[in-house]
């Protein structure tokens, strides 16, 4: 037997190593639909209890919205469950083309191609449009799927310090001998809620004859006054050459992603991107519901406006309570705890108070940067936020961290 006892033991040792390093991930099991109020079983085997969800990417509260669910049902009835085909054989329905057109119109781009996920979009696009004569210059904190996608391309890889545009400029100067320079960044960085300065990045791209790639997964649907994304927020609509994003967060949260941008680049992806060519089409039920989501967002900014209000309130009140949050304006609001053990303890105590949040620490974030990443949603009502704030105040008091900054927390708990 090839999967011998020795092989099994070796894998078991790998797993034990992960546990010993404190990196073993336990899943929390939800017994309800995704929403602000969920019932969670944790640890596994415990009975599920009601908690307020403050760690979903459900920014617009559309994941279980009745209109979206209704559109999904209608799509299921009208176009069936599956297509059993990749797009280019017999997996393209009218609703897929409709969705690509709707997304292009919403993002104000030239064209759009759907992928099974944004991870797939990122995995496919660099290899499809760049060659060994080109260079990709990426922010060091871009999402893991971008790192993987860049590695699959033959173009040279370069990086610049997170959000350091002087450093980026140096790299652009050094690479003037390349055919294409592609600047690569997230619109919003998922661990910090940092917003890339796309206006300055586009200016640098103009100055040094470069293209711009933005992954806007944590922005599409709510950043900018009409919710189009970070490019709207920064006033650079029409200037992003390649924009990837996901349907798996604000836009209903099921799954699916896309590459949107210059017509020729999108067409090249249709012809060459491997995750597009060799993986099944997005199912009709998701496609139909996503069409409805984009339609809702094009008609009203009500949900993104509520999200903005909720975020302002949450950020202001957390600071008043005396917690050390990472400054910004995005609904990703990291409560900084620096020490990994403290972050885990605070997350556990918050859960006991009925608030579902998760601690993040190395290697997910840099060493000494442990935190609780809270995420605000338009699905939160004021009473949800107030309950979350009361819990943070109680737990913060228990650990004696209220009013403390980095220096004091590190002095008290170590790094």
């Amino acid at each position: 037997m090839a999967y011998s006892e020795a092989r099994r033991a070796a894998y078991q040792a790998d797993l034990a190593g992960i546990r010993e390093a404190g990196l073993f991930k336990e899943e929390r099991i939800i017994h309800t639909a995704q929403s602000a109020d969920v019932e969670v079983e944790f640890p596994a085997g415990e009975s599920a209890r009601p908690v307020i969800n403050m760690c979903a990417n459900n920014y617009l509260g559309l994941s279980s919205h009745p209109e979206v669910v209704k559109a999904a049902h209608a799509g299921l009835d009208a176009r069936g469950y599956g297509l059993s085909s990749v797009r280019f054989i017999c997996g393209t329905q009218d609703i897929h083309r409709e969705l690509e057109h709707r997304i292009s119109a919403f993002l104000e781009t030239e064209d759009t191609i759907l992928f099974g996920s944004c991870l797939d979009a990122n995995a496919g696009v660099f290899e499809a449009v760049l060659t060994e004569q080109d260079i990709m210059i990426a922010d060091r904190l871009v999402h893991a799927s971008i790192v993987d996608g860049m590695r699959l391309s033959k173009a040279q890889q370069e990086t610049y310090k997170h959000m350091d545009l002087e450093h980026l400029e140096e790299k652009l100067q050094e690479s003037q001998d390349k055919r294409i320079r592609l600047i690569v960044t997230d619109g919003v960085f998922s661990m910090d809620g940092d917003i890339a300065e796309l206006d300055k990045i586009c200016d640098l791209a103009d100055k040094y004859d470069a293209l711009v790639f933005v992954d806007d997964s944590h922005a599409t649907g709510f950043m900018g006054k009409r919710g189009k994304g970070t490019h709207e927020h920064c006033g650079v609509l029409g200037r992003i050459d390649i924009l990837t994003t996901t349907l798996g967060k604000a836009l209903g949260g099921a799954s699916g992603g896309c590459v949107s941008g210059r017509r020729e680049i999108v067409e090249l992806c249709r012809q060459k991107a491997r995750p597009y060519l060799f993986s099944n089409t997005v199912p009709p039920v998701i496609t139909a519901a996503a069409n409805r989501v984009i339609q809702i967002l094009s008609e009203t900014t009500e949900r993104r406006d509520k999200l903005e209000e909720n975020t302002l309130y949450w950020r202001r009140r957390l600071k008043e309570i005396g917690l050390d949050i990472r400054e910004g304006s995005h609904p990703i609001v990291p409560v900084m705890l620096y020490n990994a053990k403290l972050a885990q303890e605070v997350a556990r105590d918050m859960f006991a108070e009925g608030i579902f949040v998760v601690g993040f620490f190395f290697p997910v974030v840099a060493k000494g940067q442990a935190r609780i990443r809270t995420q605000i949603s338009a699905g939160h009502e004021r009473h949800h936020l107030d309950k979350g704030l009361a819990a943070f105040e109680k737990v913060g008091k228990k650990h004696g961290i209220l009013g403390m900054g980095k220096k004091e927390i590190v002095e008290k708990f170590g790094l």
Partner: protein
């Protein structure tokens, strides 16, 4: 420290430490296992070496182990240059 070590060390400081970062680095400080350089940002180090020394470092030589200290990096550079 000879010249290669010095050049690489000063590049690492400029490239990977923030201006207000007072981490002390020498040629034997771990870079990757300490989290200063990660497997992604390491490509910038490789690009620098290739440009500076007009060499091509095969991917299998640019491993996290081989690049963990300035001294080890300098050894890889010298070996590939053939001196």
């Amino acid at each position: 420290m000879d010249e290669v070590e010095q050049k690489v060390l000063s590049f690492v400081k400029k490239e990977y430490l923030d201006e207000d970062d007072d981490t002390e680095l020498d040629e034997n400080s771990p870079l990757i296992t300490s989290g200063i350089v990660d497997s992604f940002s390491m490509v910038s180090l490789k690009t620098f070496l290739e440009r500076q020394y007009q060499i091509k470092i095969p991917d299998e030589r640019a491993s996290a182990e081989a690049f963990d200290t300035v001294a080890k990096i300098a050894a890889v550079v010298r070996e590939i240059r053939g001196n």
